[in-house]
Point group: C4
Chain length 273, copies 4
């Protein structure tokens, strides 16, 4: 017999606790910030958002602030339609919130968006070389991940590298297309997922894959990239394992102590009895 | 006079304590996980196993879980014959346990198997360049370490990079042959040893050697690799020294406090008196 | 409504506290040392200075000592005119204080000077390749950052790599020109700012930019550098966000606990209401 | 007035304390191990020694053990003449103690010897490229640092990379010649000094210089190395500053608290009064 306990909502339910999906998303959002800061994926800038559990036309995102400081009280609600805050309450919002709003608008399947200045992906993005899947756990990537060039989206006479209006956000969303990630030239990347956990785990493996591809290319221009039969579907990848591992690596994190050890592993790989 | 105290079993014996070889293997297995996580050799995945001290047809391996969380209670017994758990007790097993089972089947000399996604070896494995011994402490390696290509083992129409059945495990074991290590293209490596300590120390030096070879090859295609008279036999390498050093590096590890200082050094290098 | 609270002086004022601009500069100077040591920008040598709040012809700089040890009591006052200490009180001064004095003399706009041996910029400086802006947050850099060659400033028969007199300092200041940074061949760099915070944040992004440019150039000689419309003016860059983030990363820093969360974000990027 | 306080012996004297030069050397030796382990210069192997303060024909060196575990009680006395221990007391000695003995024999000016497996120097040593001074603080290096090739010292039919007898040690000492350092192909390096502090600081800058030279060479084969007028004499380099900085970086080191701040800086660079 195998008890399926997949997320903290289910775990709470299994333990007879009531759970609030919105509260869970806020808690996961703060954990995502801690993980991504600890992994050097988020630096002084960069942001993570999640679609509201109550209304798919709303997304949750912290106000303008350094990722290392984010707490639940900093989370604002923004509209998908125009990326504007519902009630700023005098709090400043991120200038690049249009990245998130426009991706949620274009991609109903996306529940979480990460924009980072990850130094693992920037070098590749400065060249004409495309990110390609080379490590087994990055098999969620397409054969070529697009690199967004802001110059293609910038209007005549406009300035800046940042995605600071809906038009630029929409251009980035078109570049992302149906993929889980897009590199942004000279800037970083966006990674999306069907949950915060998936987006965080995908962002971690985009980083690892970019470093491995970069290092291998320095050794040889003739490297083996993953073939179509080596790519996988989301349900074939146990994201709980890297999510919990990345949480363990956070220094002094209270969230570490209680772990449901039954959550790891995939049913299709288990022993026949 | 020189007191020989080589392992914790002997140490316990020397101190008049009774010792249980199986308990010692389980304790070393947990320590191996801590060391290899701390050295960034094991990441969110990867696993270590040891042959049972009671029955060579059984091996011990934790259930499916992140390496950073492994404790003695998570260790399961699996059969060498088919890599299936004796009593899963509802606990999920690792999908890649066939790596371990098939290597134990093919190599009676092997007592411990490590499979890691080490980022030090992956770049080399993506190219046609073979890992060669270049640093003095990696003299346990053969002149060329094989790189396993899963495409050679995958049946027509099959998918995936992982070693998820006995046929794939057997193909990997054939690639490993009689060597202490094999790289796995786009995936990582396997390292084996005649004990957990030896496998862990070998894994650490495979990593260092791969980084040094990679960096040197970026400087020059004409590097000096170790010649046959520079390779060594297992008994010529004091594995206790790196094993204890790697333990010292684990943050807040209780195992650090008591160290038998007489265990280090090799008899053949001592002073004539 | 949006409350503007830009610095610790304003914050103190808003909280009804009296504030001393000189005391604030000394406190920021010590924080700058902690941040730059933690970021591996300052090593055993290197120094940071700030112009006095009381007299623009005076600058504040610690005595000769390792950056990791600097406290407010170590700060001396030096003259811009000749880089000599007002009252050494028997304390030794830095041999390279002429870097600071001569830059303050040539650049009335500069309020803070950082000289570091940053290992991120040294490799580029050993070649004929110029540092160019490649990452969005380094848009404060000019299209080409100059590399200072001490051989051009050294008199016939003189020795040494260091800037140990006014003539060498003046030559470095001429090389820096009106720019925010100059590399120093085989030595490191200088970074200047209109405040300690700006200089520290600029130094951090000079480092990141140098690493990204270096890594990209190893992949391809044909990389995309930032165009003129992608560069920005100081007021377009929210330095509070990286300053606070870098402070958060200091281990066990008492300064972490109180953060004014309203200080982050730029007005021009906010929601229209 | 400027109080000269150069070392811990003088400091003790200045404070009216009696001091034992041998005890000071043992204390510095243990600190050297802590620093070099923390800087990743010493790994599981590698060793540091110092000439006895009582008899120049004796040197002090810990028994065979991992560098991270060394305490004063582990220090043995060995003869310079044959590298054998005076009284092993049943404790095993390092197989490569001949490195130390033969260098002390050939170099009366040398008071301390470090042998490390530093991963910063190994890549260069695997190629025909010589280590050359490129960073200002490495101006103690000659224009070319020799790389020792054990194959030139190994007798017909002999085996191994290690320096395990007097003949090999003498060959290494000849390769080192009058220089402060020699690389060892596939093995690491030796760094010597007129004191433990100097040897440790030199080892740290050999590491930094090797990394900077390596990284620059990947960018361009045409790099600027330091010219003769850019090299310096020992007395022109303030080793107290890096020694104390490196001590500060040791986690939880009791030695951090008391620092004589007057020890830093060189007299020739001070203000004329």
């Amino acid at each position: 017999m195998c008890v399926m306990v997949a997320g903290s909502a289910q775990l709470a339910a299994a333990q007879g606790m009531t759970t609030d999906p919105q509260a869970e998303r806020k808690a996961d959002l703060v954990t995502a910030y801690k993980i991504l800061v600890n992994e050097n994926i988020l630096d002084s800038f960069g942001h993570v958002s999640v679609r509201s559990a109550r209304d798919p036309n709303i997304f949750l995102m912290p106000r303008a602030m350094p990722p290392s400081l984010v707490s639940q009280d900093d989370i604002l609600e923004l509209r998908v339609s125009d990326s504007q805050p519902l009630e700023p309450k005098g709090r400043r919002v991120n200038g690049e919130r249009y990245i998130h709003g426009e991706i949620y608008k274009a991609r109903p399947d996306v529940m979480s968006v990460i924009h980072s200045h990850s130094q693992s992906v920037i070098p590749l993005g400065l060249t004409s070389i495309k990110l390609r899947p080379v490590v087994a756990q990055a098999g969620f990537l397409p054969p070529e991940t697009p690199t967004f060039e802001i110059r293609d989206a910038r209007k005549e006479g406009d300035r800046g590298m940042q995605v600071t209006d809906s038009a630029r956000g929409a251009a980035l969303a078109r570049s992302l297309s149906s993929h889980p990630a897009a590199l942004m030239r000279g800037h970083g990347n966006v990674v999306v997922g069907s949950s915060i956990k998936q987006a965080v785990v995908y962002a971690a493996y985009v980083d690892i894959n970019a470093r491995m591809q970069t290092q291998a290319l320095l050794l040889s221009r003739d490297i083996v990239t993953m073939s179509e039969p080596e790519l996988f579907k989301p349900e074939e990848f146990d994201i709980n394992r890297p999510w919990e591992h990345l949480k363990q690596k956070i220094p002094d994190d209270a969230a570490k102590t209680k772990v449901d050890r039954a959550q790891f592993g995939l049913d299709q790989t288990q022993a026949k009895q």
